[in-house]
């Protein structure tokens, strides 16, 4: 397997997309909504960007296409409609998961360095 560290550092947007796929398989719209709600609307991925990035994550084998889940969740907007067959679902591969973990650890160590130097930390409670 490719060394996950060879992908580091990830671009912020790739990090967010991988993170969105951690807990469940999602389609493109789902990814956009997940990132948007988790970051309270601070990060809004646009469609063109997302799909090009997904294409690339696919070719690097960090994500793969997932089968449409059984009894697919009804269309979020229109519960009467069945899920649109044109939607494809994506999920993390084991490599994708380790890359995500490696990137998180890298960021962690960076942040703890900053904390040790008291760049942040004292006031962290205030902001969070």
């Amino acid at each position: 397997m490719t060394d996950p560290r060879s992908f580091l550092p990830l671009t912020p947007i790739a990090f967010q997309v991988l993170l969105a796929l951690v807990d469940s398989d999602r389609h493109g719209y789902g990814v956009i909504r997940e990132v948007e709600s988790r970051t309270s609307g601070r990060i809004r991925i646009r469609t063109g960007t997302l799909y090009t990035l997904l294409q690339r994550l696919l070719s690097e084998s960090l994500v793969e296409q997932a089968p449409v889940p059984d009894g697919a969740e009804p269309d979020p907007m229109d519960p009467r409609r069945k899920d649109d067959p044109r939607r494809r679902y994506y999920r993390l591969t084991p490599l994708g998961r380790s890359v995500l973990r490696a990137e998180a650890m890298r960021l962690e160590s960076l942040v703890s360095d900053a904390r040790r130097k008291r760049v942040i930390g004292g006031e962290s409670k205030v902001t969070s």
Binding site: G48, E60, M77, R87, R88
Partner: protein, 892 residues
């Protein structure tokens, strides 16, 4: 945008559907949460992003997974059409990475390819394929010549003789003839002399002339000369008949007779050359009885199948005298055969071949230069390629990439070369003397053959210049390069040696070009220094044709001339006017042995002496100096004459000729009253001087005139004008003449200055082109030398630093680099001199009073080349001297 979306849909329907669904979802969400405006905004913003990302992807700037790695453009699989496109894009990006080198390369290629194509077009039109006629390899021209040996001439055929040669069907399929003549074309408001050609009816069909409208002649046309048919050129139709659509029902008045127009030939049909406007049929089997019709055809024949030129030449020569006797001739005239392709004379042919050679040399220099440039690029990227090879790029891949880059350079160079070629052809045809341009029956332009040549030359050039660097790209020295690192590697050393070799070759080739240019310069200087014997500045000649009705009487003609001279003198820009032919053209001839009064009975060999009839003020107007004596005066007894210096020196060597007497043949005795400067022939090198004699008007009755008498013209007269200030236009002159008598035809007005300039136009053009080629060659060679030395200094900076640190002085270092450059130049010079000495022999016949191995020229060439080399080596040497060992070693 729609097209883009449709394209996206077609190529990746799944992805497009996915994108569309997602955007629809987003819009719906926005609508629900924030209203319709938000939905519209979302729709636009999302689609714009799709386009933005798609565009960014094209230039490799799309969204990335990892910050560390540039996105790899996915390479389409082999044999897919996208693969080539992908590779082309890669190659283009790689070329644009070093724009200055690329631009320099493309410009050099464009110049080389363009100039070569231009010269090819000219040589092709004038030499290789001057005859655009069907089955031209079987076409020959026939000429008569005297077998008695007294005089040498090349003559034509009478109608009966033409018929005799037509009967020789074992030799010829067809025998057709033509004769040029001037006809008077009369229109409502005036009349004009027009170039026409009388042809046998079969001539135009034999030459494949296809009319734009109407028909050409058929057998039976022109019988007895009574049907009065004419074929005209498109140009004449446009200029004289204003492209009248009913041209085929028109009649035109030629020499006072009505001719019916039966066809219009396109402008690019040229026979006998491009000056003809009208063709008139004549059947030699039934020639007209009137004397005005020609009886001296130039014959053009198509050889019977299986008869070679050689066989035809022998048999024609063998039968010539007998046929001549049979046709009513004196039997002392035979005939000879010449291939039609040799329309241009030997010197022009030689000039063109020399230019073709020179331009090939220039192309070789261009190749060497571009090879050197691409090689330096390849060397600079040798490490890059080695890494790629180590990562699995195959040798074939690397060579393919290199070749693709070269092909792109070639395409760019060829496209720009096309522009260079068309500009160059335009420029050359503009300065080409009329006689040279008209000597081809093909137009000089960028035709299909020239384009094919351009393509071929480009391919060969790209192959020649690209081979070394492509080989370097594919060489298997990967591990070696990576181990040794960036310093220097065996590959770059080999490349450096190779580039040094290229520089030597470039210098050698430029020496050859420069030697040619230098010899032409010296020759041209000598030609221009020749005293032409008259003052051509502002001198004009105008031809007048006095019509037979009304001017039959000599006194009337003389009166008219006097009135015209007076009328022209009133023009403010005219400072002198007289009438009379100007040497060396349009003269009469006195034939016979010259007998000198002091030694009666003792005669010189028979000669043909040009004779000119003059009027008062002739010498002053023409600017011909009288070195001794005076011009004939009205009160002189009959027989006064002015002779040229050469004539005087030959017949009265070492004595004054003034007051002496002579006569030519059985003519009257003449006495010399003045001696005039010799007027140079209008040939470029006045080797065979013909001396001139001037008689007062009306006293040359024993001389032959060279112009053909025409039934409709009583006499041709030349008016000589010395103009100043703004000059006088031909139209103004014509008007002034018509003020005196509108029936007189004002013919061609020509500038004597221009005519003398045209006489040396060929050497001047050869000189000009050689000088341009040599200049380019020298600049390219200097650039090559500069490049090699700069590269050498850059590569050896470390070595130079160490040497300096070890105690070498900058001066020594500079001397080494400088010496290196001069060494290369000297080697090239030596090689080039040897080659030039061998090659300039081919130029012998083009040179005037200059030896091909002219020491002065060759010395000058060597000095120029070595000085240029020194100039090119100066900066690299200076850079080497400024290397600072401390900084350098610290950087290491």
């Amino acid at each position: 945008m729609t097209r883009f979306l449709l394209g996206l849909w077609r190529r990746q329907p799944d992805r497009a559907g996915e994108i569309a669904t997602t955007i629809a979802d987003l819009c719906r969400a926005a609508h629900r949460e924030r209203g319709i405006a938000a939905a519209v905004f979302t729709f636009i913003a999302e689609w714009l992003d799709v386009i933005r990302v798609w565009l960014l992807e094209r230039i490799g700037q799309g969204p990335r997974v990892s910050m560390g790695r540039a996105p790899r453009l996915t390479r389409p699989p082999r044999r897919s059409p996208m693969r080539l496109l992908f590779d082309v894009r890669q190659a283009m990006r790689s070329l644009l990475a070093s724009p200055s080198t690329t631009i320099l390369t493309v410009l050099t290629l464009a110049l080389g390819i363009g100039i070569n194509t231009a010269v090819f077009s000219i040589v092709d039109s004038l030499l290789v394929r001057p005859v655009p006629y069907p089955e031209q390899e079987r076409l020959v021209s026939l000429w008569t010549y005297s077998t008695s040996g007294k005089f040498q001439w090349r003559g034509g055929f009478t109608s009966p003789l033409t018929v005799e040669w037509r009967a020789q069907s074992d030799l010829f399929d067809r025998v057709e003839g033509s004769q040029d003549r001037s006809v008077i074309y009369e229109y409502e408001s005036g009349a004009e002399l027009v170039n026409a050609t009388t042809v046998t009816p079969g001539l135009l069909p034999m030459l494949g002339a296809s009319p734009r409208t109407g028909r050409v002649f058929v057998e039976g046309d022109g019988r007895d000369g009574t049907d009065r048919l004419a074929v005209i050129r498109s140009r004449f139709w446009a200029q004289q008949l204003h492209s009248a659509p009913d041209v085929l029902e028109r009649e035109i008045l030629l020499d006072g007779e009505r001719y019916r127009i039966i066809g219009v030939l396109p402008d690019d049909f040229r026979y006998p050359d491009e000056r003809q406007d009208i063709w008139i049929p004549l059947d030699p089997a039934q020639p007209p009885s009137t004397a005005e019709q020609p009886s001296s055809f130039v014959l053009l024949a198509r050889l019977a199948r299986g008869v070679s030129n050689q066989q035809a030449a022998e048999r024609v020569k063998a039968r010539g005298e007998a046929l001549n006797a049979k046709a009513g001739g004196d039997g002392k005239t035979s005939a000879s055969v010449m291939p039609v392709s040799s329309l241009i004379d030997e010197k022009t042919e030689r000039s063109l071949l020399v230019l073709a050679g020179a331009v090939t040399f220039l192309l070789l220099i261009v190749c060497a230069n571009v090879a050197s440039l691409t090689l330096s690029r390849a060397v600079a990227r040798v490490r890059d390629r080695a890494v790629r090879a180590a990562l699995g790029a195959s040798r074939a891949d690397l060579v393919r990439e290199a070749l693709l880059e070269h092909a792109l350079l070639g395409v760019a160079g060829a496209s720009l070369g096309l522009v260079v070629a068309s500009v160059a052809i335009g420029a050359v045809t503009a300065v080409l003397p009329e006689a040279m341009a008209a000597s081809s029956l093909n137009r000089i332009d960028l035709d299909l053959r020239a384009l094919a040549f351009l393509g071929g030359v480009s391919v060969i050039t790209v192959f020649v210049f690209g081979l070394p660097s492509a080989l370097l790209a594919g060489s298997g020295q990967v591990s070696g390069i990576l181990q040794i690192g960036s310093r220097s590697s065996s590959g770059s050393v080999a490349a450096r040696r190779f580039r040094a070799g290229l520089v030597v070759a470039e210098v050698a080739l430029s020496i050859v070009l420069l030697a040619g240019a230098a010899l032409m310069t010296r020759s041209l200087m000598k030609l221009e220094a020749i005293d032409i014997g008259l003052n051509p500045d502002g001198l004009l000649t105008m031809q007048l044709a006095l019509p037979a009705p009304g001017y039959a009487d000599a006194a009337v003609r003389e009166d008219f001339i006097a009135r015209v001279v007076e009328r022209l003198r009133t023009h403010p820009n005219v400072s002198g006017v007289t009438a009379g032919a100007l040497p060396p053209r349009e003269h009469m001839i006195n034939v016979g042995p010259v007998e000198v009064g002091d030694r009666p009975g003792q005669k010189s060999k028979s000669a043909a002496v040009p004779v000119f009839e003059i009027r008062a003020g002739y010498f002053a107007t023409a600017g011909i100096r009288l070195v001794e004596g005076r011009e004939p005066a009205p009160e002189d007894p009959a027989g006064a004459a002015v002779v040229s210096e050469g004539f005087a020196a030959r017949h009265w060597p070492g004595q004054s000729a003034v007051g002496r007497r002579f006569r030519i043949g059985k003519g009257p005795w003449r006495s010399v009253v003045g001696i005039a400067t010799e007027v140079r022939g209008r040939s470029e090198a006045p080797d065979s001087r013909e001396f001139e004699i001037y008689y007062p008007r009306g006293q040359a009755s024993d001389a032959y005139t060279s112009t053909m008498p025409m039934a409709r013209i009583a006499e041709y007269q030349t008016i000589l004008l010395r103009t100043s200030g703004g000059g006088v236009s031909p139209e103004e002159l014509g008007r002034l003449v018509h003020d005196v008598d509108p029936r007189v035809i004002a013919g061609r007005t020509s500038s004597v200055e221009r005519e003398f300039a045209d006489a040396i136009a060929r050497p001047r053009i050869v000189f000009l082109m050689m000088a341009i080629f040599a200049g380019f060659g020298l600049i390219l060679a200097a650039a090559g030398l500069y490049g090699v030395l700069s590269h050498l200094v850059a590569q050896r900076t470390r070595e130079i630093g160490i040497r300096l640190a070890l105690g070498a002085t900058p001066r020594t270092i500079g001397r080494v680099v400088f010496g290196n450059g001069l060494g290369l130049a000297a080697a090239g010079t030596a090689l080039g001199l040897a080659a030039a000495l061998a090659l300039v022999k081919t130029m012998q016949s083009l040179l005037y009073e200059v030896e091909p191995a002219d020491a002065a020229s060759f010395t000058a060439v060597c000095v120029i080349v070595l000085l240029t080399a020194a100039l090119a080596a100066w900066r690299p040497a200076g850079r080497a001297m400024r290397v600072d060992p401390v900084t350098l070693l610290r950087d290491e």
